[in-house]
């Protein structure tokens, strides 16, 4: 014992060369086994000490009651955090998927307990686990990096193979000699005194403070940037670190580019080429003109179009047109001279006729009316609203339309005529002919004789209103 005391004295001198005697913080007694420390602790406890503790490399059981340790509040931390986790999970899932951004997934409800349960369970565990470990650390007053006990070389074995009883100087009964005597009675293998740490020794290593300051300042940079951006709205596109597919290195329609001499990104077809699937060898079918006739070869399609788009008086005078949409004497049209086909270049069957009726009702009736009188719903609405720019479509029953060769009508439908846009891009070529077939039938229906009607259908005609 005396030897160890001597060591202690020596250490005190080493640490505190100046004799400003620091306060005593605690006294330590060392024991070799769990059994001996337990026996000693029983004595200390019976002697009525209150501010003392036992340190051991593993939990020694039976000590808790001697130290009068009350059962820890830790389970309440766990329970509370677990419940908070459940509530947070449910509220989060409900708010995010049912309130803030509700979106349908295969007809499932926006929020359902069943689907929300797994995540609620995981968050319960997560919160509870963090609270348990965090709570254990906080209740144990950790982290605590400087401790007067660590000054004792001997005490370091408390985490390996020795057991210690520490009586704090804060105990009201504390007195150096009394504790010394008590420890000796308990047959401690060594006894040491521990001095309170002087403030300078208890400090962090000098590097830690600047590191924390720098890290703290750096940590403020992102929130500051966010705050700055949020308070200064801008019209500029969003800042993208990685552009993903938002900005693709490609040309979009109707844009310009210096890559091409003419600045257009939409490139015209190269001269002398035909696009795939666009070859139109059958001029009867595709242009509605007699194949092989000299004139066809002479016509440049590009020359025809501007004529049809500019021709006619309707463009210049909307006023007059609206009152009198059908010019009484149309000026001679250069198109009239072309070699239009007069026969249908497709097979004329009931099936084609039905198809034509269907397509006509879809594509043409809105303007031209179901019967072709130029009174479709769009037209009527436009006239009701007194739309100045609207032109009443020509009635198909008008003389000049009736007399047109079918090839010319085909040309009108395909490329447009005066104010009417072309439908060549929208309606496949066979369907355009089918529509014209039906158009011819509509025209025929106004001028038919009784002998045009098949005999078996004549009886049903009686239901028609008499003229």
């Amino acid at each position: 014992m005396s030897a160890s005391n001597a060591i202690t004295e020596k250490r005190e001198k080493e640490h505190h060369p100046v004799a400003a005697q620091p306060a005593l913080s605690a006294m330590i007694a060392e024991f070799p086994t769990a059994g001996s420390v337990l026996a000693a602790a029983t004595r200390v406890s019976e002697a009525g000490w209150s501010d003392w503790d036992v340190h051991s490399p593993f939990p020694v059981h039976g000590i808790d009651s001697l130290l009068r340790i009350r059962s820890t509040k830790l389970p309440w931390f766990t329970l509370t955090a677990g419940l908070v986790g459940i509530v947070v999970a449910f509220v989060m899932q409900w708010w995010m998927n049912a309130v803030d951004y509700p979106f349908w997934i295969s007809g499932k409800p926006f929020f359902a307990l069943e689907a929300a349960a797994p995540i609620a369970f995981e968050m319960m565990i997560l919160f509870a686990a963090i609270a348990t470990i965090g709570g254990m650390i906080l209740l144990n007053r950790l982290p605590r990096f400087s401790n007067p006990l660590f000054a004792s070389e001997r005490f370091l074995r408390a985490t390996s193979d020795r057991f210690f009883i520490v009586i704090s100087a804060n105990d009201p009964k504390f007195d150096h000699d009394r504790v010394m005597q008590l420890f000796q009675e308990c047959s401690a293998t060594a006894i040491e005194t521990c001095l309170a740490i002087d403030a300078r020794e208890g400090r962090w290593p000098s590097l830690v403070t600047p590191i924390i300051v720098v890290a703290g300042v750096l940590a403020l940079v992102p929130p500051a940037l966010i705050a700055q951006k949020r308070s200064n709205p801008t019209d500029l596109p969003r800042f993208h670190v990685i552009t993903d597919m938002d900005f693709q290195p490609k040309f979009k329609p109707q844009r310009t580019s210096r890559l091409f001499a003419d600045g257009r990104v939409m490139r015209p077809q190269s001269a002398g080429t035909i696009a795939r699937g666009e070859i139109q060898l059958d001029s009867r079918l595709h242009q509605g003109m007699e194949y092989g006739s000299r004139e066809v070869a002479a016509i440049d399609r590009l020359n025809v179009l501007p004529i049809s788009a500019q021709g006619g008086p309707s463009v210049t005078s909307n006023e007059g047109v609206q009152k009198n949409p059908m010019p009484a004497v149309p000026p001679p049209d250069p198109l009239d001279a072309l070699p239009w086909v007069k026969e249908f270049p497709i097979s004329v069957t009931l099936k084609t006729m039905k198809r034509g009726q269907e397509r006509y009702n879809i594509y043409c009736s809105s303007c031209h009316g179901l019967a072709g009188d130029g009174d479709g719903l769009v037209t009527r609405r436009a006239l009701d609203l007194e739309q100045g720019t609207w032109i009443k479509p020509t009635s198909f029953h008008a003389e000049n339309v009736r007399n047109q060769p079918v090839g010319q009508l085909f040309h009108s439908v395909t490329n447009g005529v005066r104010k009417m846009p072309g439908y060549g891009d929208l309606i496949p070529v066979e369907d355009r002919w089918a529509i014209l077939l039906y158009l011819r039938a509509l025209q025929q229906s106004r001028r038919a004789d009784l002998q045009d009607v098949p005999t078996e259908l004549i009886p049903s005609l009686q239901d028609l209103p008499k003229e």
Binding site: T33, A34, D53, V54, H55, S56, P57, F58, P59, V60, H61, G62, I63, D64, I69, S71, T72, L74, P75, T78, M92, Q93, M96, N97, D100, Y101, F103, I105, K108, A112, A115, P118, I119, F121, E122, I125, L126, A128, A129, I130, T132, I133, M136, N140, L142, P143, R144, F145, S146, L156, R157, A158, T159, S160, D161, V166, R238, V241, I242, D244
Partner: protein
């Protein structure tokens, strides 16, 4: 810890002559501390460590290279393609998560069941859990393609002003796996605090003092600290036990909640959990046997520990075999043609080779553990366990790939083949796992020193 192990519940009593002691060689408090600490304090590790580290760290480098290649090029570098959009990435993910589960089982479930023998191996197994979860997390992370927006998986406000879909099992998986990783890490760290304090107090250099001093948080081993610590340990075990079961259940939901034949079955959760424990224990044994040789831990990790683990492998392996049989029964009993086809296709279709590899490795090989010789000869155990690990990888492959490659529409059937990136990343993930593990063995307390001391007969409660 042993506060919980009262005499009524304790079925691991040391009965002299009946069971081998859990700590051999007459080790006591001092020598156990020395034995474990010296591994980390030794100036150089054993030569075998260097060789193993060289191999595994080069494989890790290869893995990182392939991950970089994948990120810069796109997930097309893998073999995944119509109709098998989930392939080795998911197979590897489930495989590694499963491996991890043994660690939690040992540290939490065996703790609750008062199995004292866990103390020598739990630190190992917990470390393995964490490294396995890291490997597992890698695959789904890179398989999202645009990895730079992976935070979209989390409910964080983003510039698109949308939230993740909480009705999807894949999102449940995100929560389950991140929770699992976090809780395992916390549990592992908490378990190490007293041992870090031991390291700190033995530290000879300033660096070690600083590092372990920080990690130990100022632990002094006072009775008050131990009191709260033990309570926290019990609570963590009670939290981790349902957690580990939920994690593999949710992983199985990734499959079971879909409608693909062969996936859409209610047997999946228990079957996956049993498989996870099975593969995890096989991995623990595979790692433990060489580690105890090289680091001189034969007296701490005894044959009794190993034998106990082989028994668990035998049990869970048999459960897995039962599940395989049950799957066929369910398919037949359901009367559902697609389900029946899916299973016939597994066993006799183009992937029959994978199916029978799986059955051989998982059902037949653990049965060797009925023989005492296999349960007590370390190298025989390792061989069986390696087969089990191969088998469990194939199990996930069979489930994922056979079902997807031939589902409802025969016109879109296909045959999946991995690319060199797939293969390289699987091998590389083993490299990563072993690299982390070797670093752990070298620098950390690889046996829970304080826990082992608490089960020493000499330290048992004197009254």
């Amino acid at each position: 810890m042993s506060a919980l192990i009262n005499d009524l519940m304790n079925n691991t009593h040391e009965v002299p002559g009946k069971r081998a002691s859990l700590v051999l060689g007459g080790l006591n408090n001092s020598s156990i501390t020395d034995r474990v600490c010296e591994i980390a304090e030794a100036p150089t590790p054993p030569r075998a460590w260097y060789i193993a580290f060289a191999v595994s760290s080069s494989l890790t480098l290869m893995l990182f290279g392939l991950v970089g290649y994948l990120i810069f090029t796109g997930v097309g570098v893998w073999g995944n393609n119509a109709p098998v959009f989930w392939a080795w990435d998911i197979v590897n993910f489930v495989f590694w998560v499963g491996i991890g589960h043994a660690g939690t089982l040992i540290s939490a479930i065996l703790f609750l069941f008062r199995q004292n023998w866990r103390t020598s191996i739990n630190r190992f197994a917990e470390a393995m859990t964490i490294f396995a979860v890291i490997c597992a997390g890698l695959f789904p992370t890179v398989h999202v393609g645009r990895i730079w927006v992976i935070y979209w998986l989390l409910p964080l406000p983003n510039q698109n002003a949308i939230w993740p879909n909480f009705r999807s099992p894949l999102l449940w998986d995100v929560f389950a796996v991140t929770t699992y990783a976090t809780v395992s890490m916390l549990f592992w760290y908490m378990g190490m605090i007293p041992d870090f304090a031991t390291f700190r107090d033995r530290a000879k250099t300033r660096n070690r003092q600083m590092i372990f001093g920080t990690l130990a948080l100022g632990w002094t081993g006072s009775a008050r600290q131990w009191h709260r610590y033990e309570k926290a340990y019990l609570l963590m075990a009670a939290l981790a036990t349902p957690l580990v079961i939920s994690v593999h259940t949710v992983v199985s939901f990734d499959f079971a909640v879909s409608q693909v034949p062969g996936w859409h079955t209610t047997i999946f959760p228990p079957y996956f959990v049993a498989g996870a424990v099975f593969s995890g224990f096989a991995m623990v044994v595979t790692l433990m046997v060489p580690a105890r040789e090289f680091f001189g831990l034969r007296e701490l990790v005894t044959l009794r520990h190993l034998e106990n683990m082989t028994k668990i492998i035998l049990l869970t392996g048999t459960m897995v075999g039962y599940a395989y049989a049950m799957e066929f029964f369910t398919a037949w009993y359901s009367g559902n043609r697609y389900e029946q086809f899916a299973f016939m296709n597994r066993a006799f279709g183009p992937y029959a080779w994978a199916y029978w590899t799986m059955v051989t490795c998982n059902v037949i090989s653990p049965q060797f553990f009925w023989f005492k010789k296999f349960r007590t000869t370390p190298w025989l155990m390792v061989i069986v366990c390696i087969f089990v690990n191969i088998g469990m990888w194939f199990e996930r492959f069979v489930i994922t790939v056979t079902s997807l490659s031939r589902d409802f529409l025969p016109s879109s059937w296909g045959y999946y083949q991995p690319t060199f990136v797939d293969i390289g990343m699987l091998i590389g993930s083993f490299g990563l796992f072993f690299t982390l593990f070797l670093l752990f063995c070298r620098y950390m307390p690889i046996v829970a020193i304080s826990e082992v001391k608490s089960i020493l007969p000499e330290n048992q409660n004197p009254h």
